[in-house]
């Protein structure tokens, strides 16, 4: 009977230790980051749909146009700056950058290896959505629904970055 008292805890420790070690591998980091990026994709797409359906149609005046254009300069198809851009065009400019960096982040995660730092595409995306939230507050400060939609994107991106940053702590940023 005494033997059982020793053996059982040892077995539990050995098996448990091996499983914990296996589960802490890079694949779980990638899995979590992939799931979190899917949430970002949904949230960012919702923000774009919401802006096109509700905010763009408001045709608000642009007293803060200069501040907005400082955040992103909308370009015409020929690559030259759009003349007198509207708020909608500036928000679209920011969305274009965010979606482009999101696509880069998705491809960076495809080749992510254990121990690698947070891809720069992800930190770029984080900067994009932070700027987007600042822009949303200028464009529609009284539209709590729109601000909540953009805030959801900011939170989702933060979760992706944290999935990797925590795994490679101290957090590093790399190519």
């Amino acid at each position: 009977m005494k033997t059982r008292r020793f053996v059982l805890p040892i077995l539990i420790l050995v098996i448990g230790g091996a499983l914990v070690s296996a589960c802490a591998g890079h694949l779980s980091v990638k899995q979590n980051a992939t799931a979190a990026l899917r949430t970002v994709d949904t949230a960012l797409s919702s923000a774009q749909d919401f802006e096109r359906a509700n905010i763009a149609a408001l045709h608000l005046d642009t007293p803060a146009a200069a501040n907005l254009i400082a955040l992103c300069v909308p370009l015409r198809a020929d690559g030259t700056p759009a003349p007198s851009p509207t708020k909608h065009q500036v928000i679209a400019c920011l969305l274009q950058k965010a979606f482009t960096d999101e696509a880069r982040a998705a491809r960076a995660l495809e080749t992510y290896q254990p121990g690698q730092p947070v891809p720069t595409s992800l930190t770029d995306l984080q900067a994009d959505v932070d700027t987007g939230f600042a822009a949303a507050k200028i464009v529609a400060p009284d539209r709590a629904d729109f601000l909540a939609t953009v805030q959801a994107v900011v939170d989702a991106v933060l979760r992706v970055v944290n999935q990797i940053a925590v795994a490679v702590a101290p957090a590093k940023v790399g190519a």
């Binding site: 033997t3 774009q48 015409r76 979606f99």
Partner: protein, 65 residues
């Protein structure tokens, strides 16, 4: 009643079996996740493609044309 010293061979055998079992479980887990890696990459590729399509839509909106 067994003493600890008398039980040592038995403990050794059980620990060895425990390690073997744990390695088998970890191996199966790893294999499953290698498969999942392909699924994850397909998911990531779908995300990238949607983001590129959305970026193109946003570029059109930004151009105001």
């Amino acid at each position: 009643m067994l003493t600890v010293i008398q039980a040592l061979p038995l403990i050794e055998a059980l620990v060895s079996a425990g390690i073997g079992t744990a390695q088998q479980i970890a191996g199966a887990w790893h294999e499953k996740n290698l498969l999942d890696d392909a699924t994850m990459n397909a998911t990531l590729e779908a995300i990238a493609k949607n983001a590129e399509a959305r970026a193109a839509q946003a570029a059109t909106d930004a151009a105001g044309e």
